[in-house]
């Protein structure tokens, strides 16, 4: 039997929470996982499967509620259907939530592509006593209707058969129509005709009809696209105002009303309830506890604490093992490589860089275990609801709360946690604001400075840093929100999905996906970055005085082994290190930029510490140790004493504020790059945080100068 060898493109469309991703994973045998978190890039996932000799390319479009042009997700989905004209649209519907879910279906009907409808999660609907007449539904929706339970792959054979049957028979998908008010119908057909004349032979009838409806709805994107046809735009304007005048409702409202009317009629005929709606379902009972006005917030904070503790306390063990493993590898390779350039690159650059990436992995895996648990059970949306009032005044979404709190420990997993925020606009703000949260790597610097300059007030100063950190994050949120204004800011309107038991499979997917993408995408950047910064810090490894130090050390070593000799040797070693750092590329760069910090009174030592802190904030302490000829370990008090005289307390405080606020570390920047989807945002983050840090440090000096 001859059959045209052809790939059938199937576009997967559905509401968020409809089980669309689960269906995609299960249907395509998802050996490689697909995270359920909103993706930054809107490139749809595409996977091929075979069924009865056909090759089906399944394209997973973003989860959406409607096909307007309001959000990038909606635009991506409808552009794919309109311009790529897939052979078939597979519409995934939550069977327990038909009254609203079918709104998207009603719009898909008008896009005119052949369709198959999957009534997903039919098991939940059956438990509620809902029975659906799929045959009647199929004729009213124009396309087979198949009951499925994506989680268990139930109904998939029938679904795939229906897809192939639909493609083989090439049914006319344009037969079914939503009926509008008679005036509106006349208007739609007038506009459709004009579009047909303006785009001869380019658009089929269904596409013209769809465009007419979109134009009459006042869809910005379509109006812009057709902007050159002034005749058409004029007609639309006239018709819209005439309809609104005669009916007292805007055209988009008339259209939406008609769609819900169609849904109502359809459900009247196809849905029956065998048992009365008891009302007291599980979700309602759980919400009475978790959304309780008094216990809701404490319960959320308690679960957050458990997550926090597990991520960073439990995560400490594997992190230590990784640390030890990296050290052991270094120690193992150390004697194998001949001393010299290659040795240093491998041991101090590459291995340290790999170690620097791997240490984040335990935290990320554990954090995402919890986030997956929250998101799969339906609790995540509720946490956003609980704290939205606190976040909204600063232009932040309720879901930004978790990333910001996690930022207190480490910004890297925290920024990845911002993936739970659906709106790209809100997500971007959360990503850019999180680095201002005082991560634990900043604590050693706070402790050192607070001890050196504010011995009696050390605790208060460290506490002040945390307060400033939160205030700065909120200020930054307001500023960034203002700059990004108008970029798809929509209503908060958020669905609270029913509580569901999380499946091991889904939780595992989340964790694995995160770990994998972190290693693949972020790991490389961190690795290359660490090698580059290490190079700048270590080279040129020869200065004018290197010889001199080496000679002095040799002389000292030849002496009798006395405590004085040990002290002298240690001192020489420190001086040598200091000399090398000062003359390294990084040291020279620091001295070159010192004038920029003139107004803040930071000297070249401070700027060197700042630039080295770019690797990781805790390095600032190590750099000071080198710069002040003190050993970092053992004699912490020596370093404190050496620092104490170096600057007045007010300037030290300003310096701390600067350390708190400028770009936390290379890894954070790498993560921003990946999560925000462009290196431009990473660059913006660096520039913005440096500027912000500078201004605030300057304000500290100004205000402090006036007060004292």
């Amino acid at each position: 039997m001859d059959r045209p060898v052809r790939i059938v493109t199937v576009a997967l469309v559905g509401n968020p929470n409809s089980g669309k991703t689960t269906l995609f994973n299960r249907l395509t045998g998802a050996n490689s996982p697909v995270g359920n978190y909103p993706r930054v890039t809107l490139t749809p996932q595409r996977r091929e499967i075979r069924h009865r000799g056909w090759t089906l390319a399944i394209v997973d479009l973003p989860g959406i509620y409607s096909l307007t042009s309001q959000t990038p997700e909606e635009r991506a989905a409808r552009d794919f259907i309109h311009f790529n004209t897939p052979d078939l649209v597979l519409n995934v519907i939550d069977s327990g939530n038909l009254d609203r879910s079918l709104f998207l279906t009603s719009q898909l009907i008008e896009m005119g592509r052949p369709r198959v409808h999957a009534l997903n999660m039919i098991d939940e609907a059956r438990k509620k006593g809902i029975t659906l007449d799929t045959t009647a539904m199929a004729s009213m929706l124009g396309g087979s209707v198949v009951e499925t339970v994506a989680l268990f792959g139930e109904g998939f054979e029938g679904l795939l058969d229906a897809i192939i049957a639909a493609v083989e028979t090439e049914v006319d998908a344009g037969l079914v129509k939503i009926t509008y008010d008679s005036h509106l119908e006349q208007t739609i057909s007038r506009v459709t005709d004009m579009i047909g004349e303006l785009h001869p032979a380019m658009l089929d009838k269904a596409q013209c009809h769809w465009l007419a409806i979109k134009l009459l709805e006042g869809d910005d994107e379509v109006l812009t696209r057709e902007g050159e046809h002034t005749q058409l735009i004029d007609l639309i304007r006239l018709e819209r105002s005439a309809l609104a005048r005669n009916h007292g409702d805007e055209v988009d409202t008339m259209i939406a009303d008609a769609r819900y009317g169609f849904i109502h009629g359809l459900l009247q005929e196809t849905r029956s309830l065998s048992k009365p709606d008891r009302g007291g379902d599980l979700t309602q009972r759980l919400d009475r506890v978790f959304l309780n006005q008094f216990f809701g917030l404490p319960l959320f904070l308690a679960s957050l604490w458990v997550m926090f503790e597990a991520t960073f306390s439990l995560g400490k063990y594997p992190t230590d093992w990784i640390d030890a493993g990296v050290k052991a590898t270094g120690a193992f390779l150390n004697p194998l490589l001949p001393p010299g350039m290659l040795h240093d690159v491998v041991i101090d650059g590459v291995i340290a860089g790999i170690g620097g990436t791997l240490v984040f992995l335990p935290n990320i895996v554990i954090l995402f275990f919890f986030l997956a648990l929250f998101s799969e059970t339906g609790y995540l949306a509720r946490t956003a609801f609980l704290v939205d009032r606190l976040m909204h005044p600063f232009g932040l979404h309720g879901k930004a709360f978790i990333p910001l709190v996690m930022g207190f420990d480490c910004n890297v997993p925290a920024i990845m946690a911002a993936r739970t925020i659906e709106s790209p606009h809100s997500r971007l703000i959360a990503i850019l604001v999180t680095p201002f949260m005082a991560c634990s790597a900043r604590l050693p610097v706070f402790v050192l400075f607070a001890g050196a300059f504010f011995a009696q007030w050390a605790g208060t100063v460290v506490f002040a840093m945390y307060v400033i950190s939160i205030a700065a994050a909120m200020m930054a949120a307001v500023l960034i929100g203002r700059w990004l204004k108008g970029e798809g800011q929509t209503a908060f309107a958020m669905e609270l999905p029913p509580y569901r038991l999380p499946t091991l499979r889904a939780v595992w997917f989340h964790m694995w996906e995160r770990a994998q993408s972190f290693l693949q995408k972020v790991g490389g950047v961190i690795l290359v970055g660490s090698v580059v910064i290490w190079f700048l810090q270590a080279f040129p490894n020869h200065t004018d005085r290197t010889e001199e130090f080496t000679a002095s050390i040799t002389v000292a070593q030849a002496q009798e082994d006395t405590p004085e000799r040990a002290e002298l040797l240690a001192h020489l070693e420190l001086q040598k290190n200091q000399d090398r750092l000062v003359h390294s590329y990084l040291g020279r760069a620091s001295q070159a930029v010192t004038p920029l910090f003139g107004a803040l009174g930071f000297d070249w030592r401070d700027t060197t510490a700042i630039l080295t802190g770019f690797v990781a904030k805790e390095v600032v302490v190590a750099s000071y140790a080198v710069l002040y000829n003190q050993s970092e370990e053992g004699e912490k008090d020596g370093l404190k004493a050496a620092l104490a005289g170096a600057m007045p307390p007010l300037r030290a405080f300003a310096f701390l504020v600067f350390i708190l606020l400028y770009s936390p570390c290379l890894s954070t920047i790498a993560v921003i790059w990946r999560e925000a989807g462009s290196w431009r945002w990473a660059a913006f983050s660096v520039v913005f945080s440096f500027g912000f840090a500078w201004v605030l440090a300057w304000l500290v000096l100004l205000v402090g100068g006036l007060v004292t």
Binding site: Y65, D99, R100, D287, D388, A493, E495
Partner: protein
């Protein structure tokens, strides 16, 4: 952008969804907003003329609130609910 919407005097006098007490049910009359995007967003979430809405939960700080409609739960900020005109029982 939602706040920019104009509410005429007669409409301001009628009941909005934000005024409905917890545990009460109301029916949507119309969305009083000139912002097409905002209207369409609410429409896509099922807020259209005649929709029955139950005020289900209030957040600890009084805002936002959870509404039960069309067989699911929707959260809205009070500033948004204020643009939804309703009829009471």
């Amino acid at each position: 952008m939602v706040d920019r919407a104009v509410i005429s005097n007669t409409e301001a006098a009628s009941v909005t969804l934000a005024d409905v007490a917890r545990g009460q049910t109301a029916w949507v009359k119309r969305i009083a907003s000139d912002d097409t995007q905002f209207r369409q967003r609410l429409q896509s979430m099922g807020v259209v003329k005649g929709t029955e809405i139950l005020v289900d939960h209030t957040a600890p700080l009084g805002d936002p609130r959870v509404y039960a409609l069309k067989g699911y739960r929707l959260t809205l900020r009070n500033s948004e609910a204020r643009h939804i005109l309703v009829m009471l029982e």
